[in-house]
Amino acid sequence: MLITIDDVLSPEELAQARKLIAASRWVSGHVTAGPQALYSKNNEQLPEDAEHLPALRRLILGALNRNPLFFAAALPLRVLTPFFNRYAGDSNHYGYHTDNAMRLAPEGGYVRADVSATVFLSDPEEYEGGVLTIADTFGTHGVKLKAGSAVVYPSSSIHQVTPVTAGARVACFMFMQSMVRDAHQRRLLFDMDMALLQLRQSVGEDNDAVVRLTGTYHNLLRLWADA
């Protein structure tokens, strides 16, 4: 399941993020790569001690925190702190890989990566190439969104960022543990949620069938969620 969400960041937030990033120093993306990824990962990343990283993380999480679509799609339980990367010049691609399943959380313990999200911070016109290509059970999708928009997809999918041949692609990416670990179940819940939204709109919240279907949604969530 792949869901794109437009304008996660407001224009002001986007401008602010870009300003902070412009004032930041990049290091090789190898710092967060697992042993296998070392072979395919060739990009740059903001180091953990980057001066503006806390502000950038607050900004991104603040935006996601108020986005209902993001919640409905990801059903996030724990979100790992976002990272920022840049593809440009010689460090311009990240070959096909699957994200590591378990990650150490800064506050201790492990977080299982169920869902990945990328928030685009460069506009598509600012670079050539750099397509996020996601191969999931429904086929291969190329994603290149306008700055401030986000894509949410299963961490279990195999994905890559194709080489950036001109310009620079800056993005924020993050992993989260979902209440519903199974991608198919998450998708069913999301589809049901969206269909229910339309129903609630057209026939009203208090319609008997809507009430019972809403109950079904919650009961499925009860069945599948491990929060």
Partner: protein, 732 residues
Amino acid sequence: MKKKLARKPAAQAAAAPAQPVRLLPLGAALMAGGLSLSAMAQDTATPAPKEKALSAVTVNATTEAPPEDGYRATATRVGKTLQDPHDVPQAITTVTRSLMEEQQVGSLKEALRNVSGLTFNAAEGGRSGDNMMLRGFYTYGDIYLDGIRDTAQYNRETFNLEQVDVLRGAAAMLFGRGQAGGVINQVSKTPMLVDRNRVTGSVGTDDYRELTGDFNKVLGDTTAVRLNVMKRDEGSWRSNPATGTEPEIHREGAAASIGFGLFTDNELIVSHQYLRTDDNPDYGISFDNATHKPTKRFDESDFWGIDQNFDESETNISTVTHTYRFTGKTQLRTQLRYSNYKRAYWASAPSNTVAPSDRGNAPKTRKSDTDNLVLQSDFSTEFNALGMKHELVTGIEYLHEDSVRWGLLNLGTNARPYYSSSVVNRASASKYEGDTYSVYAQDSIEFVKDWKVVLGARRDFMDAEYSAVRSPELKFNENSYRAGLSWQPSEYAHYYLSWSDSFSPTADLYQLSGGEFPPERSDVVELGAKFMFFEGDLAFRTALYRATKDWERNNDLESTASILTRKRRTDGLEFELAGRITDKWEVFAGLALMDSEILKVAVNRNATTGVVTSANPNFKGERARNTPTYTFNFWSTYALGNGWKVGGGAEGKGERYGYNPSAGGTAAFNPNKAPAYVRWDAMVAYEQPKWAVRLNLRNLFDEVYYDAIYDNGGFTVPGTRRSAILTTEFKF
């Protein structure tokens, strides 16, 4: 969310507790807990630093800017070829850049306050955005940018405009399908062969802030590039008493153009214009059903909108213009344009019974996405035949329009709605796709000395499809004509009699003929005179006209009524003055008297049942909507010497009606009425060759006035209260 302007600290404090709306998708109900890193997440982004004051500008050029035209335009293309407006046998008002700059005008709407006989509609539904009436007829299909249709619904800005030409009268022969009032043509700035840069920064009351830049750089003998940028934020004197939320305007735009072979026989200009708007829309206040006047139950400063409301648009317009000059007066001018207009809004409508709350009221939502592709090519030449002088212009045009619009999906509850610009109600999609092919020719013949006759004809082939509840195909082949007789006994006087017509099936404009009725038909006959005084420094014009329209339509396909009036007419008299009385004294003024009347009331056929109904017979003989019996405007400045300049003016409109003329029943005619008003403005400036400071005062006497009326009558939008804007300008 959006950066919110805080007019006063109290309003800000009241607005602060606003939480993200909770009742959303079911999954989003889990948002209440926040993300697991909630401590971090809830401490939202660090506030954006305040915009820096303009840094000092380095003066790096010694060339003086060329003199401005002032208020009298000396060139227009609104008659199809580049002409002096004095020579066009039809009424034209041109709002020049000098006038717009002196008035610190930002939006097209504000610029058009200088045009007599023009009134503003408050917007709703698919037609929000710029929405003007000209001589009492709507113009939303008649807004052009460089002679090319710019009919998507959005709020236009003037930062990249050289001037705005308003050509009155049916103009289908020149522009293609349209209505009786005329066309509003915006003229873009283009590269010049002189280095010239201008930067302005403005601050004002109600959190007004604007920065603009206009940079022109010569790159070679005939090559130059020009860049215009703008960013403006505005708050309002109105606010929601429950939350402190104010209507807001946040606009930014950039336009770049590059010209090759400028002023040579082979000229190419490539341009792109980008505009982003991010407003909190103001739907004004309600009429009171008992008094038919703007409600007194609530204060004029009450705003029904909430913080979450939005009106966002993004417009991208790319144009290539090629001009090839053969010899003398023979040239071929070709324009290719691709434009995309995206817009989404959620507005709260005012109420006469429900006080503004923290939940918004009667949500109005819309999202639309429009793509237009235009190719037009004009060939113009001059020759002598049969002992007479001919000026011939012929052209072809292809227009492809592709648009879709939706309502937004309520992500909240009925009691507390919530809409996102990215979630549409897919069930509500309406699509329009159309191809129009046009061919036209016009000859202007000087048959005896000083006497000219203009004859023009055009044929439009329109093949379109509109898909909503019903999906008719629309095929129209329509002719339009233009004829004029001119007598120019001297360079400074022009008397003319003209006639022109137009048609409009108007399927692209969120409305449709429905197949059961013919397209709208308009024709205008006009007797006019244009004079130039003081060797052309001051232009005066007057026109007496009769504009008639058949099958006036308005509603979209989902409605059962599509015809507003079967026949309607405006008779009018206009006077305008533009230019310089002395070297120091400039003036721009207009007066329009309008007598409008519904001649035949609407006849409509119910889309589903086929039942034919007539509108209320009492509408017959009554005055048309939003067509006051008079409008006037004047603006004048006087240079006192030593760089000081003072100026001021007024704009006024008579009482305007708002009602639905296609409504049935037999009730007595008793429309909602927006009262007459006069708004006074003033200006004082200190100007030096390289810099200037200007103070604009708007609505000097702090009048509460209503300048926009929803034409069906529900509500009216008050204009600005007293406000001040201080602008500094640097030229280098």
